[in-house]
Symmetry: C2
Subunit: 301 residues, 2 copies
């Protein structure tokens, strides 16, 4: 079943203790689509400016990623992000952001995408996420990501969005900020009260946690990576594999969500093993399945 | 099979967002023994001064903790620690330490303890850990804990100790410092090269990781605690339950170590649910076994 994603397409410059990757392709929708394409066909909605040095058709060549929702705006500039990671590389330090095309009107949903059942709204202004979602006829499972700046500055539209989605996928600091609660288990429960039936909290190298409105909980450690070269896109790859697995299996019960989280964990571990998309480009589905089996073994007692 | 432990017995004053616990009983050997006593008989070696307000026989009443190795020194003062936890409570802020009896000669190992097969050397000066270990005739499985101050200031005796033990149980910051390596997986491997056949890294609310010299790895999340009142003693309770289970089962193969870590995870989750020993005093073995079963369910996909 096709999976719809809307999010950013960016030009990233990333510095880590392993080196610098200048003007490489990035953005939430790009990492998400690449990760999801191992599982199902992807419908990408996003916009780039005239300065975009990447041919997205080439980036996704041989993968099942539909670019009918990609807008090339001749009078706009592409979103750019410059950041760095230090020490344990758990946190990105943003050095420069140029929103550019992301500060304009959001892309239009093509008619042939409006029947999408599985939808992911990557991080952007909650009002825009809402606007996009309204164009989808009758989605089955909608997940969204958000960020501290929207929690602080746009709480009302964010709360309105939470009423409309099934699942929030969010990192631990954002979960604490949104819930106003330092304990993550309690924070998860408080966010469930705001609307979604499932909350998935990403904890970086500490793994992830899921809770749902029936009182069920799932916890999974991160893959024990011996070498992390560039954490950029880890969260988006996690969400991409997770949603890709769900769309492929057409199921959203708790057991399916558990397997989906395990796939998200595994695919994001490949993402961070190299700069930009290199870690994802160099693998195939059987690498992912093998690592999933190993992860199950590593965590079983 | 009896389990020998040597470590501190202390008078703690702890402040957390949930309140203050003044002059309560603490110390690594106390938390360890309490946790281990759910599994096996414990032989405690430690010392207190004349100012100690606690009757250890009363503290451990009804539990299988042998106090023949407890020294009451009339001219000494008991170890005292004053600390606090803030925000996410992941880190203890030490406000005051009075080593007192811990800065004197270590306690003597009673003759009847010298046949101990399972031994835990809780955190203290590595030379003292070494001195104590030399008094044990032919131990089967020796585990030790250590701390940043020994890694920085006493690296040579610590490295000598690592040659003599089977297992190091250490927290993540200490593992990074000891290995001189920020990546925990690589840090674990580097510590294995220093001597022990097993390294267990405690990551607080992020769970734990184990690796051994045969290339095996195990990772487990922490119990998802909705309320953490006082993290003091979590690491010592973890080690106590872990070693208690191994001594009880008389096995130290990798599968047994996995189950031991799961027991450590569960018992420490009870410790942090209340101040001082309250969380451990209020439970029984079946509470522990039930939570272990739930943990297995929560982490399975």
């Amino acid at each position: 079943m096709p999976l719809l994603v809307t999010g950013s397409i960016g030009i990233d410059t990333v510095t880590t203790p392993y080196g610098v990757s200048e003007n490489c392709i990035g953005g939430s929708a790009v990492y998400f689509s690449m990760a999801a394409s191992f599982f199902t066909s992807v419908r990408l909605i996003g916009a780039v400016g005239s300065d975009c040095p990447f041919d997205l058709a080439e980036v996704f060549a041989g993968r099942n990623v539909d670019l009918a929702g990609l807008e090339r705006r001749s009078l706009s500039k592409t979103f750019r992000w410059k950041g760095s990671y230090h020490d344990t590389m758990n946190e990105a330090i943003t050095e420069k952001v140029e929103l550019n095309v992301l500060s304009e009107d959001p892309p239009v949903v093509p008619d042939q995408y409006k029947d999408s059942k599985f939808v992911f709204l990557a991080n952007t202004a909650p009002a825009l996420q809402h606007k996009l979602l309204e164009q989808i006829e009758s989605p089955t499972f909608v997940a969204a990501d958000t960020m501290n700046c929207w929690i602080v500055g746009h709480l009302d539209p964010l709360k309105a969005l939470l009423q409309k989605i099934d699942c929030l996928i969010i990192n631990e600091d954002e979960a604490r900020a949104l819930a106003g609660e330092r304990n993550l288990v309690t924070a998860g429960r408080k966010i469930l009260d705001m609307g979604p039936r499932v909350v998935i909290i990403k904890k970086g190298e500490s793994g992830s946690m899921m809770c749902d409105d029936e009182g069920q909980t799932f916890i999974l450690p991160a893959w024990p990576s011996a070498e992390v070269k560039d954490p950029t896109g880890a969260g988006d790859s996690f969400a991409g594999a997770l949603m890709g697995y769900l769309a492929k299996s057409r199921k959203t019960d708790f057991d399916s969500l558990k397997t989906a989280i395990a796939y998200g964990t595994v695919v994001s571990s490949f993402t961070i093993s190299d700069f930009s998309l290199q870690g994802l480009i160099s693998i195939n589905k059987s690498d992912i399945d093998n690592r999933l089996k190993t992860l199950a073994k590593l965590t079983k007692f």
